[in-house]
C-alpha cells in the first residue's frame, strides 16, 4: 500500500510578543518612554523589511511543531491525541494548507477535505437551505453534488421544517446538526477531522459516530483528532501522541491512549499548582459561560499534587467539584464519566438522575457526589466532568481525562494478584460447590 500522507521533518514556528510589566514598582515614566520608542523603531524596521508587526516588548520564538515525521497509508484511519496546546491543531492546519510550515515537507496524494470546525462559513442571515449550499461550496463540494445529496443531508440533520428560516433563529443544536450533516456528506480521498464529534446532544453524537465509522470503513484515509478516547479507540487502529510539538508515541491506539492518559498525571500536578484546569479543557473556549469548573477532588484525600488520591479496594468515595458560578443556573446538570486507564468508560453519573436539575446561585460552590456501592478494580481512573446550564443542553464547561483516583488493594484481595482485573471489583461473590444430584441419579438407573 502506498503512503497517502507523508510528513517529513515538519516544523512550524510562531513569533509571540510579550508585554513587559508596567506594574513593577521601579517602572518609571522614562522606562515607559524608552520602551515605546524602542518598540516603534522595531516595528518600523519590521515594516521596511516586510515582516509582520508583533505587539509587545519582547519577542519570543515558539515552535508549535518540531521535527514531525510520519506516514499514513491508503485507507488507514489515524488518530491524533495530545493535551491542549500540544500542536494538534497546528498540524492539521499545515496539512490542510491553511498555514505554511516553517521547515519540512508534506506530500499529499489525493483530494483533501478538512473539517476543522462544523459550520464554517455559515451565515446567520441566510436560510438553512442557502447555508447548505454555501457550506458545501466552502467544503469543496460542487453544486451538482450538493443538489444530488440535498435530501439526504436534510434527512440526516432532522431540520426539514426550518429549512427556509434564517439560521440565526435556529437553536444551537439545530445549527450544529445541519452543519455536521453537510460535512458528513463530503466524499474526499483524504479526510482531516478535528474534534467535530463533540457537538450536539448524546443521540446526535451517536449518529455522528456511526457516520464516522462508516466513512472509516469505506477505505478512505482519515486523520482524526479527538479528546474522546472512546471515539479514538473505536475509529482508529493506529495513533500518534503529540506532546509539546513533537511526536512522543506512534503505535497502536491502545498503547497510545495509555501513554496519553499517563501524561495527564503531570498535567494534573501542574493544574493543581496553578489552580487552573485549563489544560484539561478542549481547544475551544467556553466564552461567556455562566459557570466554570475550578477543581475536582476526592474528599479526604491528601493535598499533595504529585500523588493521585488513593482509595482502598471496595470502599466508597466522594467526589468534590468546585464551581465558580457567575450567572445563576436554574435547571442545570453535572455529569461525571469515569474511565479506566485504557480509556474505557466504566460508568457515568448524572446529577439529573437524582435531582430535578441543579440550581446554583452566583458565587463559589462545592458540589459533592458520594459514590456508594461502585467497586472499581485496582488501577488508575480518569474522569470527564461536564457542566450543562440546562438538562440535555450543550455544556458550558467541561474537563476531560482528569486523573481522579487510584484504587489500591491493601490486602482486601490476597490471591491471584496478577490476573487482569477488568474495571470493576465484585465485593461479594460467593462460590459454592454442590453435588450434581440429577446426573448421579441418571447414571444410577
Amino acid at each position: 500500500m502506498t503512503a497517502v500522507i507523508t510528513v517529513e521533518n515538519l516544523s512550524k514556528r510562531y513569533l509571540l510578543g510579550h508585554r513587559a510589566s508596567n506594574h513593577s514598582p521601579d517602572a518609571s515614566l522614562r522606562d515607559a518612554i524608552i520602551r515605546t520608542a524602542r518598540n516603534a523603531m522595531r516595528k518600523t524596521s519590521d515594516v521596511v523589511k516586510g515582516r509582520e508587526v508583533i505587539q509587545g516588548d519582547e519577542i519570543e520564538e515558539f515552535w508549535a511543531l518540531k521535527d514531525i515525521n510520519f506516514e499514513v497509508k491508503e485507507g488507514e484511519v489515524l488518530g491524533l491525541v495530545g493535551r491542549n496546546g500540544a500542536g494538534k491543531s497546528t498540524l492539521l492546519k499545515v496539512l490542510s494548507r491553511i498555514t505554511e510550515p516553517t521547515k519540512g515537507r508534506v506530500t499529499l496524494r489525493g483530494r483533501v477535505a478538512s473539517l476543522l470546525e462544523v459550520g464554517t462559513g455559515f451565515h446567520p442571515e441566510l436560510s438553512g437551505r442557502e447555508n447548505v449550499f454555501l457550506n458545501g461550496a466552502i467544503l469543496g463540494m460542487s453544486r451538482v453534488d450538493i443538489r444530488k445529496k440535498f435530501d439526504e443531508i436534510v434527512a440526516f440533520s432532522e431540520v426539514e421544517k426550518f429549512l427556509d428560516t434564517p439560521v440565526k433563529r435556529y437553536s444551537s443544536g439545530m445549527y450544529v446538526r445541519l452543519a455536521f450533516a453537510v460535512a458528513a456528506h463530503m466524499e474526499p480521498e483524504i479526510l482531516i477531522v478535528d474534534e467535530v464529534l463533540a457537538v450536539g446532544d448524546a443521540a446526535f453524537q451517536a449518529k455522528c459516530m456511526g457516520k464516522m465509522s462508516s466513512v472509516a470503513s469505506e477505505n478512505r484515509t482519515v486523520l482524526f483528532v479527538s479528546h474522546n478516547m472512546g471515539a479514538i479507540k473505536t475509529l482508529t487502529t493506529r495513533s500518534l501522541l503529540l506532546q509539546g510539538g513533537t511526536i512522543t508515541a506512534d503505535a497502536d491506539s491502545e498503547t497510545v491512549i495509555e501513554k496519553y492518559l499517563l501524561t495527564a498525571l503531570d498535567a494534573r500536578a501542574k493544574a493543581l499548582k496553578a489552580k487552573s484546569l485549563e489544560s484539561f479543557r478542549r481547544g475551544r473556549h467556553y466564552d461567556n459561560s455562566p459557570a466554570s469548573i475550578m477543581e475536582i477532588n476526592i474528599v479526604s484525600a491528601s493535598e499533595d499534587p504529585d500523588t493521585l488520591p488513593e482509595i482502598e479496594l471496595g470502599s466508597d468515595f466522594t467526589i468534590e467539584i468546585c464551581l465558580d458560578v457567575e450567572r445563576p443556573i436554574l435547571n442545570g446538570d453535572l455529569c461525571v464519566v469515569l474511565m479506566n486507564a485504557q480509556g474505557e468508560r466504566v460508568t457515568s453519573l448524572v446529577a439529573s438522575d437524582k435531582v430535578s436539575g441543579l440550581s446554583l446561585r452566583p458565587g463559589e460552590k462545592v458540589v459533592k457526589l458520594s459514590v456508594k456501592d461502585l467497586f472499581l478494580a485496582p488501577g488508575r481512573y480518569f474522569a470527564d466532568v461536564s457542566l450543562d446550564p440546562m438538562i440535555d443542553g450543550n455544556s458550558c464547561d467541561a474537563v476531560f481525562d482528569y486523573p481522579l483516583l487510584t484504587v489500591v488493594n491493601k490486602g482486601q484481595v490476597t490471591h491471584a494478584l496478577n490476573r487482569p482485573w477488568g474495571s470493576v471489583y465484585c465485593k461479594d461473590a460467593k462460590w459454592s460447590v454442590s453435588e450434581a444430584v440429577e446426573n448421579i441419579a441418571a447414571v444410577g438407573t
Binding site: Y14, V47, E52, V53, K93, V94, L95, S96, R97, I98, T99, E100, P101, T102, K103, G104, R105, V106, T107, L108, R109, G110, R111, V112, S114, L116, E117, T120, G121, H123, E125, L126, E130, F133, L134, A137, I138, L139, G140, S142, R143, E189
Partner: protein
C-alpha cells in the same frame, strides 16, 4: 489519476490558477452570499445602491455647477455628466473599501479552510459591481429624462467597464494584503476614498485641468476610466485625451500586476496573521 500536493515553506503553487478555476463555485457562492446579505434587514434595500451616487450627483451639481460655475462638457447637462462620473467612482471606492475589509470579515473561513485567498477580495469587488449595475439603471432613466442619445462611442463602453474593474481589482488586492498585515490600512482606506473623490474628475470635467498637468493627472487610474465613461456614453461633446488615457491604462495594468504579486507573496501567512 490522483493529484499530488506538496506543502513546503515558500513553495509557489504550480497549479495556482488551475486551483482558482477549480474553486470557482466557491467564488460564485461567496459573491452570491454577499449580494444576498448586503441589503437584508434594511428598509429600502437595493435602493441604497442608487441613492448614494444620486445624492453625490445632486451635491456636486450644486457645488461645482451652481456655486463654482464650472463648465460641463459641451452641451451635456451637468447632472448627467456628474452622474456618469459618479458611477465608476462609487464602484471603485466601494470595491476598494469592501475588498480591504473582506479578509478580516471572512477570518473564520481563512483560519479554518484552504482555498485560493484571491477569491475573497475579488468576490467583494463583484458585489460592488452588482451595486454598479443597479445604479446604472438609473442612468438609463436619466438619459431618457434629458432626451440624451449616446453616439456610436457607446460601442467602446464595455472596454471602459473592463478597465474600471481592473482599476479596482489591482489596488484592492494590494491593500487587502497590506491590511491583513498592517491594520493601519483600515484607517488609511477611508481616507484614500475621501481624498480620491476630489482628486478624481467626479464632480467636474477633466478638461478643466490645465493642459500641462493633464498627463500627470492621468497617473490616477480612475481618471482614464471616468473620461472613458463620459466619452463613450455622452458622445462627441466630451473629448478624449489619448496620451492621458494611455498613461491611465498603463497605471491600471501596473497596479494589477503589482497587486496580484503582492497578494500572492503574502497570502500563505494570512491564516497566521489574521
Amino acid at each position: 489519476m490522483t493529484d499530488v500536493i506538496i506543502i513546503e515553506n515558500g513553495r509557489h503553487e504550480r497549479n495556482y490558477w488551475r486551483d482558482i478555476w477549480r474553486y470557482r463555485e466557491l467564488f460564485y457562492v461567496l459573491a452570491w452570499r454577499d449580494v444576498a446579505v448586503r441589503y437584508k434587514q434594511t428598509i429600502i434595500g437595493a435602493a441604497w445602491a442608487v441613492i448614494r451616487p444620486f445624492l453625490t450627483m445632486l451635491v456636486f451639481t450644486v457645488i461645482f455647477s451652481r456655486i463654482a460655475k464650472l463648465p460641463s462638457d459641451g452641451v451635456t447637462p451637468y447632472p448627467l455628466m456628474v452622474y456618469v462620473g459618479t458611477l465608476p467612482w462609487t464602484f471603485f471606492s466601494t470595491g476598494l473599501t469592501d475588498a480591504a475589509n473582506s479578509m478580516i470579515g471572512n477570518s473564520n473561513l481563512i483560519s479554518k479552510i484552504y482555498f485560493p485567498r484571491l477569491i475573497v477580495p475579488i468576490a467583494a469587488v463583484v458585489v460592488a459591481f452588482a451595486d454598479f449595475l443597479i445604479a446604472f439603471a438609473l442612468l438609463i432613466g436619466m438619459m431618457f429624462w434629458y432626451r440624451f442619445a449616446p453616439s456610436w462611442h457607446v460601442l467602446f463602453f464595455p472596454v471602459f467597464v473592463a478597465a474600471g474593474i481592473a482599476a479596482t481589482i489591482g489596488p484592492s488586492l494590494w491593500i487587502t494584503a497590506l491590511n491583513v498585515k498592517y491594520r493601519d490600512f483600515r484607517i488609511i482606506v477611508p481616507f484614500i476614498v475621501q481624498l480620491g473623490l476630489y482628486v478624481s474628475p467626479v464632480g467636474f470635467s477633466s478638461s478643466i485641468v490645465p493642459e500641462k498637468w493633464r498627463l500627470l493627472y492621468s497617473l490616477n487610474p480612475v481618471v482614464g476610466v471616468i473620461d472613458g465613461f463620459r466619452w463613450s456614453l455622452l458622445g462627441s461633446d466630451s473629448q478624449i485625451y489619448l496620451p492621458g488615457m494611455a498613461v491611465s491604462f498603463a497605471v491600471i495594468i501596473a497596479f494589477m500586476w503589482f497587486g496580484v504579486r503582492q497578494f500572492r507573496a503574502t497570502e500563505k501567512s494570512f491564516a497566521d496573521l489574521i
